[in-house]
Each structure stands twice: as structure tokens, then as C-alpha cells.
């Protein structure tokens, strides 16, 4: 695929990649949120990392909870 076609024709994304593609999106959310919230830009990378870990753990917990409800709900 040429560079021009990259922004014209859609890519074929395998279904197994969907959850992994969530990570860059979470990184973007954490970066922008912490960039406008932090008082000290030197601490920014650490704060982004911590928030990203919070979001990943939270989403995993939510996913596990919903899976349990679907599997074992009478």
C-alpha cells in the first residue's frame, strides 16, 4: 500500500487487534488530560503512566465484571 492510499482506502484490521488498539487511545486520553491538569510538567510522564495504568485496570475490571454477569447471571 502506498502512502497516498494509506489515508484514502481503509485498512483491514483483524478482530484480535481491537483490544490492543485501545492502548494508544488510552495513552492519548491520559496525555491530554494530564497535560492540562498537571502543575509541574516535569512530573508529566509519570502522571500519564499512572493514569493509563488506572484506566487499563479499570477497563479490565469492568470487562471482567460484565463477563461474569453474562456467564453466571441466572
Amino acid at each position: 500500500m502506498t502512502a497516498g492510499a494509506l489515508f484514502v482506502n481503509p485498512l483491514t484490521i483483524p478482530s484480535g487487534w481491537l483490544l490492543w488498539l485501545m492502548l494508544p487511545l488510552l495513552a492519548a486520553v491520559a496525555t491530554v488530560y494530564k497535560t492540562i491538569r498537571t502543575d509541574n510538567l516535569r512530573r508529566l510522564p509519570l502522571e500519564i503512566l499512572v493514569l493509563m495504568v488506572y484506566m487499563v485496570v479499570g477497563l479490565l475490571a469492568l470487562g471482567a465484571g460484565l463477563w461474569l454477569v453474562l456467564e453466571y447471571w441466572p
Binding site: 489515508f7 484514502v8 481503509p10 485498512l11 478482530s15 481491537l18 487511545l25 492519548a28 491530554v32
Partner: protein
């Protein structure tokens, strides 16, 4: 927390417009240049990563109206994406005879939409699952993140805050009084 006092008070409307037009420009206007660069790079990369995955029809106001509204918050990026999608719509070769015959049918707009879909499919630009979800989520979330930045820049300007915040506990270097000889 103490803030750097600024002589000229920022104008909220300018901060709002700049923050919408170019992601991060609102913060640059308020003297927060490093934050502005980070915001610009993050929002732009997220938006164009979505367009790279979904192609030119990621910013499609006819297919996904709510995602389109979110994408428009990226300012110049969203406008470029919309313009590119419109150019594709304009170039769709619809058979005029079929279009005329469709006017006699019960729902001509539905028939016309089918013609457009067929032409898009022939050009290979139609978004299908799961690429459409991922691409529009990336581009739309980029817009929503910039909405957060627009709100932040406008509120800072309304409060008259400009420049980087000065963290508490950071001692300011005051001029020392001269000792008498």
C-alpha cells in the same frame, strides 16, 4: 497555588477560537507553549491515526453524524478530513439515467443512496466493521480531547490566568539586600 501574573488579560473568545482551530493554540495564546505543543501533537496524531486506519470516509457526515460532530472539534484537521470526504462524494459517478428513473419509485432517496454506496464500494473507500469503529473512535476521541482543551483554555482566559503555574514550595529568588559596609 500561585499563578504568574500577566500584564495583559487574555480574551476568552480568542482563546476559544484558537483552541478550536488549531489544537493547543489556545494554550499557546495563554503562554503555555510546552503544553500547547504536547496537545497539538497528541490530538493531531490521534486524529490522523484514525484517518489512516479508516481512509478518506472516516470523516463522513452522512454515515455517522455523532462521530462527525466529535471530529469537527479538532478544528483544521476535521475540516481537512471533511473536505477530502466531500471531494470523494462529488466525484462519485452516478448513472444519471438510473437517477432519473428512481424518481418514479416510492423512495428515490433510498435508491440514490444505494447508487452512492455501490460507487463508493467500487472505489474501495467504504468502511466496514471493525475498521469503522476503530477509525471513527480514534478521530472522534481526538475531537473530544480537543473539546476538553478548548474548555480549559477558555476557562483559564475567563479567569485571567496566563503563563505556566508556579508550583508551591518552589522558592523564588528574591534580590538580597546589600549589607552595609
Amino acid at each position: 497555588m500561585a499563578r504568574n501574573p500577566d500584564k495583559s488579560k487574555p480574551i476568552p473568545l480568542i482563546a476559544l477560537l484558537l483552541a478550536w482551530l488549531v489544537p493547543g493554540a489556545g494554550h499557546a495564546y495563554l503562554g503555555r507553549t510546552r503544553r500547547a505543543v504536547i496537545i497539538f501533537l497528541t490530538v493531531s496524531a490521534t486524529f490522523w491515526a484514525g484517518v489512516a486506519m479508516g481512509g478518506v470516509m472516516t470523516v463522513d457526515h452522512q454515515a455517522e453524524r455523532w462521530w462527525f460532530i466529535a471530529e469537527m472539534f479538532t478544528g483544521v484537521h476535521g475540516l481537512i478530513g471533511w473536505h477530502r470526504a466531500q471531494r470523494v462524494y462529488d466525484k462519485v459517478p452516478i448513472d444519471r439515467e438510473l437517477e432519473m428513473s428512481s424518481s418514479a419509485e416510492a423512495d428515490p432517496s433510498l435508491h440514490q443512496q444505494m447508487l452512492i454506496d455501490a460507487a463508493m464500494q467500487a472505489k474501495g473507500v467504504v468502511l466496514v466493521h471493525p475498521t469503522d469503529t476503530v477509525a471513527r473512535a480514534y478521530a472522534g476521541v481526538a475531537g473530544l480531547l480537543n473539546l476538553l482543551c478548548i474548555f480549559d483554555a477558555t476557562m483559564l482566559a475567563l479567569m485571567g490566568i496566563a503563563g505556566e503555574p508556579v508550583a508551591e514550595g518552589v522558592a523564588r529568588r528574591e534580590p538580597q539586600p546589600r549589607e552595609a559596609p
